[in-house]
Amino acid sequence: MSASTQITYREACRQGLRDALLNDPKTFLMGEDIGRYGGCYAVTKGLLDEFGEERVRDTPLSESAYVGAGIGAALVGMRPIVEIMTVNFSLLALDQIINNAATIPHMSGGQFAVPLVIRIATGGGRRVAAQHSHSLEGWYAHIPGLRILAPAVLEDARFMLAAALADPNPVLIFEHVMLYNIEGELDPAVTSVDIAHAKVRRQGTDVTVIAYGNGLFKALTAADTMATEGIEAEVIDLRVLRPLDTATLLASVAKTRRCVIVDEGWRSGSLAAEIGMRIAEQAFFDLDAPLRRVCGREVPMPYAAHLEDAALPQPADIAAAARGLVRPA
C-alpha cells in the first residue's frame, strides 16, 4: 500500500468537487465560507484559488436566499452545488428545498427540472450540542422529489457527487461530520458509483444490520465483536436514503431472518421506522424474530461528552440488539 493512495474522506469530497468544476463549466459552488475561509470543514480548501470567485461563491449568511438562488440557477441551465454548513442550518432554507426544489418539476407539469446538488454536514459526536449535531436526513427522506444520499465509505465520498450531478433532480448529500478525518485507501479501479442501491459491506448469515453514514462503522465494529462470539452479522450500507433500495434489504433479511436498523435520528417517525415497516409489510414471514431499532435518544443533543455518547447509537448497543435476536435470553 503506497502512501499516495491514502486519502481522507474530506479530501475525497474535495476531489469530487474539483472534478465537477473541471468537467462541466456549468457547475459552480455556493455557500457560507466555502471560499476564502476554505470551508467550515475545510472540504473546499484551495478551490477558490483554482477556480475563482465566479465559480466558488462565498455567500452571506442567507441560507434561504442562496439555496433558492441555486434552485433558480438550476432552472435556467446551471448545475449549482450548494453547501450548507450543518443540517440544523438547512432549516433556514427549508422553504426553498421543500416548497420549490422538490415541487417545481411536478407543479410545473414537467416543464422544468431542478438539477441541484446540496451538500450538508450532519450528525453528532463533535460535542457541539443541540444546534449543530442533529441527524435530520431521515426527515428529508420523507419528501417526494428529492434524492437523499449518505456517503459513508471513501469511494462514495469521492464519486457520489458526479452521479448526483448527472441526476436531473435535486439531490441532497449528507456528509457525517465524524467521517471527514477518516483515512483509507481509495481503490484506483473504482471511478464511479451508483446512487440507487444499498450495498452489503459485510457478509453474514445470522442477522442483518442496516446502517448508513457514521452508523455504518459502528455497525461494522459491532459485527466484529459479535464475530468473536460466533454470530455472523450481515452489514448493509444504506447509502441512498431516498428512494430506498428495499430489494437489497429484503434479500438480506430473507437470508438472515433477523434485522436490526441503526439510525442516529430520533426513533419516533424515523427513517428506521419506515425501513422496519417495509420489512414488516414485505418480509413478515421471512422473519424469525421481531425487528429491532437502535436510534438516537429522544433529546436535543447535549454538550457533555458522556451525555452525547449516551444519546447516540453505539457499537455496544447495536451488538446487544443483534445478539438479543440471535440468542434470545
Partner: protein, 328 residues
C-alpha cells in the same frame, strides 16, 4: 405620464386591451368558480392590472418573470395563452402545468415564466437564481420579480434584496403594494411603511409609482430595465395599487371599509385610462367595445378549449415527481 412611453394609437389601444383581457378573463374565472368548475383558491388581480401590463411592456422575450399566487395578470400580460391557462384552472391535462399547478402555480417554459409561487416571498430567492444563472451563461436578460407588500415582512425578501445588490444581479423587483397582506394592513405589519426606502438600505435604486396608472408603470419599468441592461444592477419599483375584491374567494373583508374600496375603484386602472383616452380622442368608444368583444370571444374560446380538455389518467399521478432528464 412618462415621456418615455410613446402614446400612439396602437400602443394605447394595446395597453387598454391587455388590461381588459385580464379583467374579463378573471370575471369568467369567478363564474366558473361559482359553478364549481374552478376549485381551491382563486386570487383575483382586479384593480392591479396596470402593474403587470405596464411592467411587461418593458421586457423582451429573452427576459424572465417570477410571480406570485395572484398571477393571472402577469401570465396573460406575458403572453401565455388563455386556453392553456383556463385548462389549467379546470384541472385538465391540456393546462400549462397538466393540471398539477392550478390558479396559484402557473409556469410556462416558452415565455420564461417561473411561477406562480404561493409561498409569500418564496419567489424572490428563485428570481435571484434565475438572474444569476442567466448572467453566468452570458445571457443579457432581466428577471422581473413580482411580490406583494406582505413579502416585505419576510426574511427571504431581505436576504434576496441584499444578495441581488451585493452581486449586482439583473433583477427588477416589483412590489405590488396593495396595502393589505391578506387582511393585514401594511401599517399594522411594518414599522416602516415606506417600502421603497427598504431598497435604499441595500443601496438599490428604487422609485415609487402610481400602480393604478399603466403609463406611469410602463415608464418607470422601462427606465429601471434600461438601467439594469446597462449594468446598473438590480432596481426596485414600488407600485402603489389596490385589490378591489376579496383576498381569495372567501373573505368577509372585515379589515377594510366599503368606502375605502369605492374610493379606490374610482381610481381604477381601466376606468381611468379608458376615460382619459376617450376624453382626449386617443380612442373611440366603439373601439373600446370592439376590444371588449374580442376579449370575450377569446375567453369563450379558452373556456371551450378547457371544457373540451381531458383528465389526465390517475395512473400518471406520480409523473414528473422526479424527472427522467432536464427538459431541453
Amino acid at each position: 405620464m412618462s415621456a418615455r412611453v410613446h402614446l400612439d394609437h396602437d400602443h394605447v389601444r394595446h395597453l387598454l386591451r391587455q388590461m381588459i383581457r385580464i379583467r374579463h378573463f378573471e370575471s369568467k374565472c369567478v363564474e366558473l368558480y361559482q359553478a364549481q368548475k374552478i376549485l381551491g383558491f382563486l386570487h383575483l388581480y382586479d384593480g392591479e392590472e396596470a402593474v403587470s401590463v405596464g411592467v411587461m411592456e418593458a421586457l423582451g422575450p429573452q427576459d424572465a418573470v417570477v410571480a406570485t399566487y395572484r398571477e393571472h395578470g402577469q401570465a396573460i400580460a406575458r403572453g401565455i395563452g388563455m386556453d392553456v391557462l383556463m385548462a389549467e384552472m379546470l384541472g385538465k391535462q391540456e393546462g400549462c402545468c397538466h393540471g398539477r399547478g392550478g390558479s396559484m402555480h402557473i409556469f410556462d417554459r416558452k415565455t420564461r415564466f417561473y411561477g406562480g409561487n404561493a409561498i409569500v416571498a418564496g419567489g424572490l430567492p428563485l428570481a435571484i437564481g434565475v438572474a444569476l444563472g442567466d448572467k453566468m451563461q452570458g445571457r443579457k436578460t432581466v428577471t422581473a420579480c413580482f411580490f406583494g407588500d406582505g413579502a416585505v415582512d419576510e426574511g427571504e425578501f431581505h436576504e434576496s434584496m441584499n444578495l441581488a445588490a451585493l452581486w449586482r444581479l439583473p433583477v427588477l423587483f416589483v412590489c405590488e403594494n396593495n396595502l393589505y397582506a391578506m387582511g393585514m394592513a401594511l401599517e399594522r405589519a411594518e414599522a416602516q411603511t415606506d417600502i421603497v426606502s427598504k431598497a435604499a438600505a441595500y443601496r438599490m435604486p428604487g422609485v415609487v409609482v402610481d400602480g393604478m396608472d399603466v403609463v406611469a408603470v410602463e415608464g418607470a419599468a422601462r427606465n429601471a430595465v434600461e438601467q439594469i441592461r446597462i449594468g446598473g444592477g438590480p432596481q426596485f419599483l414600488e407600485c402603489r395599487t389596490y385589490r378591489f375584491r376579496a383576498h381569495s374567494m372567501f373573505d368577509a373583508q372585515l379589515y377594510r371599509t366599503k368606502e375605502e374600496i369605492e374610493t379606490w375603484r374610482k381610481k381604477g386602472p381601466i376606468v381611468r385610462f379608458q376615460g382619459w383616452l376617450v376624453t382626449n380622442g386617443l380612442i373611440r368608444e366603439d373601439e373600446v367595445h370592439r376590444i371588449e368583444a374580442e376579449a370575450e370571444a377569446e375567453i369563450e374560446n379558452a373556456v371551450a378549449f378547457a371544457e373540451a380538455g381531458t383528465l389526465e389518467p390517475v395512473e400518471e399521478l406520480e409523473k414528473f415527481v422526479t424527472m427522467e432528464e432536464v427538459p431541453a
